[in-house]
Point group: D2
Chain length 344, copies 4
């Protein structure tokens, strides 16, 4: 930590800050400069609460040097975390995974149809929302427990793993019994009570980045899950909010590559929500794999025009198949195969 004093700070003010730092159990090292004095704080292997310092007279700024997160960082654990699902599929290893499915579970026949499409195209994980967090209270909110049952059937029928979203503690408990991965959506990324709760459920968690969360906040949110005892966390970049309405969000492709350097956790890209447009999903999916993503999650629907929600971003089945081929070539060029379903 570094405390920067104002230009006109008096020697007494500098001394007072040094004393305060000492009271916190650290060592203060004043560094006089041409314009102002800065005071280094030595010996803090934990983060110092800066509020006790930042409010003192003469202090201009407090700068934190150490990362605020621990267990999620690559410095803490250099080797990549590999998560093995019940069907044997691994996330975060050599192979690149493709998760696909509809935005929402709409009924048993439809979901089985989609599951077949996904398995046929080479996907290994089925997505589909049973609990839907919707901006408007008047929009379709998902089938709930009924949707989970349908997911469980589709899972059994095709051997696909299943990922679906939890929106509160109750739904998280229900999801944990059925799904291979509990998804925490962007709007709940800083729902800390929920993060702590899923940290205790013993199932892999996929944490979507909040719409305007910094990478640091995202990693700190993941830290909530890890610090509650669950190391099986997958990150998911799904686009951030910007000033431009040309696409729904802005896919932060650099964050995909950056996450791989900052954390040992696997990173998945969601081009469907990042772009909101069917025709943008394939190029952005390809880009994500080229940038080093451990997988992509895309929406697909047999007849997108009939979808209950987010139809305009769902791929047609033949588009999904074509995309899988392209992803295989690009990941292959980087020395990574596409993950496949184990033989049954």
């Amino acid at each position: 930590m570094l405390v920067v004093m104002t230009t006109h700070a008096t020697p007494e003010q500098v001394a007072d800050v040094c004393t305060a730092i000492g009271h916190l159990g650290f060592e203060a090292r004043p560094m006089p400069g041409g314009q102002r004095t800065a005071i280094g704080v030595v010996g803090n292997d934990r983060r110092v609460e800066d509020s006790t310092i930042a409010g003192l007279p003469g202090v201009a700024e407090v700068i934190h040097v150490s990362s605020p997160y621990k267990q999620v960082s690559r410095e803490w654990k250099p080797e990549s975390t590999v998560i093995t699902l019940d069907n044997g599929v691994q996330i975060g290893g050599d192979a690149v995974v493709v998760m696909a499915g509809p935005c929402a579970v709409e009924g048993p026949e439809k979901l089985l149809e989609v599951a077949g499409i996904v398995a046929d195209a080479g996907g290994v994980i089925l997505r589909g929302g049973a609990y839907k967090p919707r901006t408007s209270p008047y929009s379709f909110q998902g089938l709930g427990p009924e949707g989970l049952k349908i997911l469980a059937e589709a899972r059994k029928a095709y051997g696909l793993a299943v990922i679906t979203e939890a929106i509160d503690q109750e739904s998280a408990d229900a999801v944990a019994e059925v799904a291979d991965i509990i998804q925490i959506g962007a709007r709940n990324m800083q729902n800390f009570a929920l993060l702590k709760h899923v940290g205790k459920l013993g199932r892999p968690v996929m944490l979507k980045r909040g719409m305007s969360a910094t990478v640091k906040e995202w990693l700190l949110a993941a830290e909530y899950v890890l610090s509650a005892g669950n190391e099986q966390v997958i990150l998911c970049e799904r686009g951030i909010r910007s000033f431009d309405s040309a696409t729904r969000n802005v896919m932060d492709i650099t964050a995909v590559a950056l996450a791989r350097t900052l954390t040992h956790l696997p990173i998945i890209a969601d081009p469907s929500h990042a772009t909101g447009r069917r025709d943008m999903v394939p190029p952005v999916a390809r880009a994500s794999v080229a940038a080093g993503a451990d997988g992509v999650m895309v929406e697909t629907h047999p007849r997108p025009s009939e979808a209950f929600s987010d139809g305009p971003q769902a791929l047609y089945p033949d588009q999904l198949k074509k995309l899988m081929g392209e992803l295989g070539v690009i990941s292959g060029a980087l020395g990574r195969p596409l993950a496949t379903l184990p033989k049954r």
Copy 2:
């Protein structure tokens, strides 16, 4: 609703869209233009789910004309909502309210001391967090139920109303028993499960705007509470996220004025979280009242350098007193008195 076709859309595609609109129970009105055809949708007094239309061939864009929210809008209810608290203080009426207090409840003596400062300065509502949503799992998370007890004592001692944050359903139940107003924080603005829950608790709710929520999303979040049966909702603008780190957030002062035209709900400004800097709180508080806010919420602390969190933005007691004077003059200039505590 308006459906805009692509330039090269065929007459058959236009006809298909009209048919689909008819199937939804509405009337389609094609309007051929120089470059492209647009199709008006007539008869929709509810919002049309656009996904069934937006995915059809030849459709370039779907534009919604009607507001997606209902009960929160001024068109729904032209007269301003006035919320009367147990101590007689009104929010949303003529008088401008000042809410003040520490970021977090830190202990019984300290809170009583702050409550005295607030009452003495002329504030009518005491703020203070018992449950603190913190970005890092390693930061102080609040005193919890113990903090609520302390708030209840301070409330009784000074006749102030109390506002404090709920972070999940359990804490919401606890807060509802003690506080006059349940606060929903920016990070939980789209925690829809929590919104529905507090919609059933029968206590006034103050809904902070999410860090990157549009005004429309904010009003839709409020709509969740109203549609669950609770009309006592207060909006709170607390700054939005931007590209500039010069201050913690960007106070969206226009949103304060805009909210008054779009909704009948009261609107409060929080310059402490919007700016994150003590010296910016007074000018931004003054600006908020000048823009038409129904009140302001500011942080204050007897000794900010000792605060457990957010010390750098807490006003010193004498700063609070001075600010109250300035706010009184400005609100008076606009024909609004400052709210005062009823005689006891």
Copy 3:
């Protein structure tokens, strides 16, 4: 300056960085920490080009402590700059100035009519664009030199000072001969060639903040003008770009107050461009004065529906008059009168 090393930086890497700092003519002060070593750079009263350091092995981050700007800062010149125009009006002194007029100069009769409205309402500076930077090449681009002539006539007729925009060096030369203040628009805030040029013209310059410029970049742009020899610079906050399309831009009201602490230059607010909506202009203008602005610039038009550009944000004459009254009361409450035209 502070150089933060990575966690696993070797002692040799630390030593190499210290040597490199020495080669730059500064003193290196290593500060070993619990997680990593930081190295302070002492003796730099000018900004160190960090690229020579930031690229060295083992360096995680380089943090600059001193402000990158000089002459615009309050530390450089504590007393506020007061600019006196030819008609005796002062900007940056005690009095709050109101600049008003149409978006674009549309013809001699219309401008004289507006000038009369402005003078009658109590404004002291007439605005009006002769050169219009427009997003589309097909939009009205202004009357050019003819517009300047019209401005000169209106100036003479009513004793108002005149402000108008320059968009390149040629127009800047022409504007400097006619106008009291040369306006540099938001889109040209980092047109450094133009900034240097107007720095040599010896006329007051009003520099609008770029749509997504940080406060620091804005002050550095002003520094270009000052460093070219012109100290008569006025800053103008006109709203920044955000994710929300509810209003045209987001008025950064805190920046108005912040600028007063960071710089000695006067600061004007432009609520017309910040909001883009006529009904939002009065509340945001009031807020700006309450936050400490030295003046406001608003658009007005006798018949906004006929305006060549930006009609929806122009005030009707009676709205301007009413607003002037409100601004007078608020500025008076803060101990500042409204500026008036000297008797002629």
Copy 4:
């Protein structure tokens, strides 16, 4: 165009708007809805200036349906524009081009060294700034005309094409005589006077996207160049500004793919400025090609720690070579070769 009336608009107000539309030479088509009336404007194959309508009583909103740009759009010219440089290299055709070089031209020996590195790695266009737009007036501003001479020599020595930035009309004239492509930087994207000027110089122009420009504004800026008579325009995505400081900017990878659908102009990606970090350049460059970019521009330097500016983002020579190999495999997977220098 569509005019949306307020909920309580009277029939007279609707009639007045229809009359005003008629006066503009268009046909009005009122569409009464459940909540409010909308009025379609038919017959406008040019953009209607909405200010005359938007200010009328009872009007809530004016929505433009047609694209504001013309000549840059794919609807105007369906086939992709291919630009052939003097050395035979084509941009926008089948082959993917790599532009590389230092941020700034630093001297003749150094530039020749870099040019050799670029040619050796397989690059076809040499970049290097002679005129540098810098945020601070105290930073290195480039060698100017001397820098252009050096670029011309390097161009001759290796047969590389040359791209370099112009910052005003004077420098644009000088650049046009020496360079194959005139670069317009992000800060000048809306310097319309400069855009019109380079539109008349008869040389290919590469237009970087402004830091916070929407895709629409970017295309409109390109339209300025085309409408001045120059169809040889290349777009360059270089990252947009966001709330997160984790990387310098946010690479808008979707904009690369989107531009290909909206416009016939070639699109280049600049991962160096988009990320600001050497280790992020290769993954983001790969992603750009995977998303469909017609080329990438990267910074390279023989010894980045000695670079005059932007050293931390410059690739080491061996990194450039390795990246070229990766780009070749990915572009090949999409059926596109890397462009090569013609035999001499």
